[in-house]
Symmetry: C2
Subunit: 451 residues, 2 copies
């Protein structure tokens, strides 16, 4: 919902170059709300509105603008002014932003940044997508190991404005090796003994991640032990940066979206749906559609093989039979995949899982068989085939639902065992398998009952 409340006033202040009025507007509200109120302006107007504000506020409001508008501002506005804000952004966010900007502009912009920031951007942008390094920020409070509580508090007051996460303070030695951590909470508690050494109050059993670790693993770790931030170290244990709680939420959301897409046979998108081109989307869907098409060919071959055995009255129920198998299979697959990704189910539980799914298959298959039997009385053509014909579809339903729950639960476990992502196109693949299996079961049941 676009909030247009302040737009006329803002435009008037811009026209009259009312710097004081704009500054007050920018500094009164929470930066995210200020950004919301400006959503109806062009990116150029937005940029001019925030110029009179202090740099910190300007950067914060900028970071809450729409992504596309941030990119437009970097691409079109005065690079000298843009460089100030870029230098002030959290180090991980600006790398993400610059990744989406025309490289020619990025090159000119980098030349305008202080050498330290430039190096930082170059270094961070080298970590591959999906690693801890790609989501970490280098804005971290470092304390020297020979410091005291007093010197740490002083340092904290100095660094508080430049660092993204000031509530965990990392203690390093001369070689920048991570030696301990002190929380701001502990530092404040120790305030009454200012001469105490940091090395006495710091925790040394550190939970850290390596810079090349998978971001999903890092997120799981942080989510499990409720950290605000996790330190990221290199192979030798030197402190490179931290991944903060807000980045963890982003990773969790990203991974959940990827899983959902994989389960529906779409290769995970690297960008949002709207910003991915139709060609790229088609490619990411087409690959799997083609594979599933080839799976379906088996069903066609099977059906042709059985042509003589599929009686005319049976044709009408082919989709009913195979989709019941597909649906119960997708249900099982989704339940097992989400349970595995939440850590509720692991490979060693496979016997328990299979036993539960067999029980569910019995219950659900039984229920659907009863519904199927009742349904047969709606089809006079079936009843006309003799007193046994009406049992063909119900018995098939029972068996196919059993087969669906089993396939749907075992497939993700097998994928996991051989090291694949269990989510890979699980639902359509299960449905594809159920198509072939459904035809075979249907024909075999019919032959058995009717002869």
């Amino acid at each position: 919902m676009l909030n247009t409340l302040y737009l006329p006033e803002l435009r008037e202040m811009l026209q009259h170059q009312d710097a004081e009025g704009l500054r007050v507007f920018c500094e009164t509200l929470h930066p995210s709300r200020t950004a919301d109120f400006m959503a109806g302006l062009t990116s150029s107007e937005q940029w001019r509105v925030i110029q009179p504000a202090e740099l910190d506020t300007r950067t914060l409001i900028f970071s809450f603008l729409d992504w596309d508008q941030q990119i437009q501002i970097v691409s079109e506005e005065d690079l000298g002014e843009v460089a100030l804000v870029i230098a002030d952004l959290p180090s991980d966010d600006r790398v993400d932003l610059l990744n989406d900007v025309d490289p020619a502009i990025v090159k000119r912009l980098l030349d305008l940044l202080p050498v330290e920031e430039r190096r930082d951007i170059m270094r961070l942008s080298q970590y591959p997508e999906g690693t801890a390094g790609a989501v970490m920020t280098t804005d971290v409070v470092r304390l020297k190991i020979d410091g005291t509580v007093r010197s740490a508090l002083d340092e904290l007051a100095d660094q508080a404005n430049d660092s993204e996460m000031v509530y965990y303070l990392f203690v390093v030695d001369e070689g920048n090796f991570l030696r301990g951590v002190v929380s701001a909470r502990e530092l404040v508690s120790a305030m009454r003994h200012p001469d105490q050494l940091l090395s006495e109050i710091m925790k040394t059993d550190l939970i850290a991640a390596r810079v090349m670790d998978d971001q999903e693993k890092v997120a799981e770790l942080v989510a499990r032990i409720d950290l605000l931030a996790i330190p990221i170290v290199d192979d030798r244990g030197r402190l490179l940066g931290i991944v903060t709680h807000d980045d963890i939420i982003d990773v969790v959301l990203e991974e959940a979206t990827e899983d959902a897409q994989q389960m529906a046979a779409v290769q995970p998108l690297e960008d949002s749906y709207m910003r991915t081109s139709v060609f790229e989307l088609s490619w990411k869907r087409g690959v799997w559609l083609a594979i599933l098409f080839l799976c379906s060919l088996f069903t066609a071959v099977a059906l042709q093989q059985f042509q003589g055995e599929v009686l005319p009255w049976m044709i009408a129920f082919i989709p009913l039979v195979i989709s019941s198998g597909g649906n119960s299979g997708s249900q099982s697959a989704t339940l097992i995949i989400t349970a595995m990704s939440r850590g509720d189910v692991s490979l060693k539980d496979w016997k328990k899982v299979v036993a539960r799914e067999i029980n569910m298959g019995l219950l659900l298959g039984g229920a659907l068989a009863l519904m199927g039997l009742a349904t047969m009385y709606m089809f006079p053509t079936v009843l006309a085939e003799g007193s046994f014909a009406k049992f063909v579809v119900p018995l098939t339903l029972f068996l196919i639902v059993m087969a669906g729950t089993l396939t749907g639960s075992v497939l993700p476990l097998v994928f996991n065992k051989i090291g694949w992502d269990p989510a890979i196109m699980s639902n359509p693949l299960v449905a594809g398998i159920m198509d072939v299996l459904g035809i075979v079961i249907y024909v075999k049941v019919a032959t058995l009952i009717l002869t």
Copy 2:
């Protein structure tokens, strides 16, 4: 993976009642790791291992134990000792835990708690599942509005150990009305002017949520503006508690799991897969399976209606045709649903979305039609039907994929428009619609081409 490294040593210390050794074990490592190392012990052994540790450490380690083992400890160990840990747990976590314990034991346990804690538990457990109230904690640092920086720092040092989130300090007036917020960062920055009034440095443009707000909405808000915690107020604006970053991650994970389950036609589970009974699971799946079964009946009726028009050679390709429609439809539905839940797509984008999906339908349908045409040369029975027969399946594939992408993208938008959750059984429902539509298109195309 069970870590058995310390188990023999721990068991020996238990046997010799080596309290000092156990205390050192408990206090050396991060509490989450201590809990991991104890995973191989019985719940009773775990409880005895942590007894010698200080209460804070004991509570922390306890909170990292397996959920089932926490419940077992509360149910079986000495309630006097259990009450100490329960009183020390974050207020939201203990309510969750007690919800899973036998009510008779909870009643006895409540009698052993200080009256304040008892009232707090009673109050929190009244908020319905899924509201902000149900995930909030009441352990929050409150500062008086007439205080100074110095008094706030003192207060903070006192409250630091009892509060879950000490990094946001909420300023309230005599009526407990929320008036402002000061971050610990700001307080530390202001440390050099200790006589400054809190009312001068606090932020008054507060971002808060109501206690009955949907937890999903609260999580979205926090994720968007990167808060560590959000204050929760009643209808009149009085501070009741906070929802912290770690609870937000839990909510995000819970909602993603619910979405995935709904997309696969499973009613969201209230508990994990393993802790939900087979009967409850069967019910949550059976309801939707039955609805989808009724949808499939339409396909059966349609097929029976067209019995004369479905030529024998066409039967083999029925599953191929309908599953291609179902797969492309689920792809679209999943893409749109995940994009909507991430905020990338909203209702007002519907024209753009439909245009993109039509383009994708053209590309994907065209590709599948070509594959279909090539395939026909593998089926001599089709080629024998005359020179036009081989075009029936390809043209049907083209149209059904177009219909699939359209249905899959429009259905979630329509659901959203009428106020339903777009995720509700979207994938199987789309597949069900494509079954009927697939049959109709297949028959119509055949009639058109062959006559």
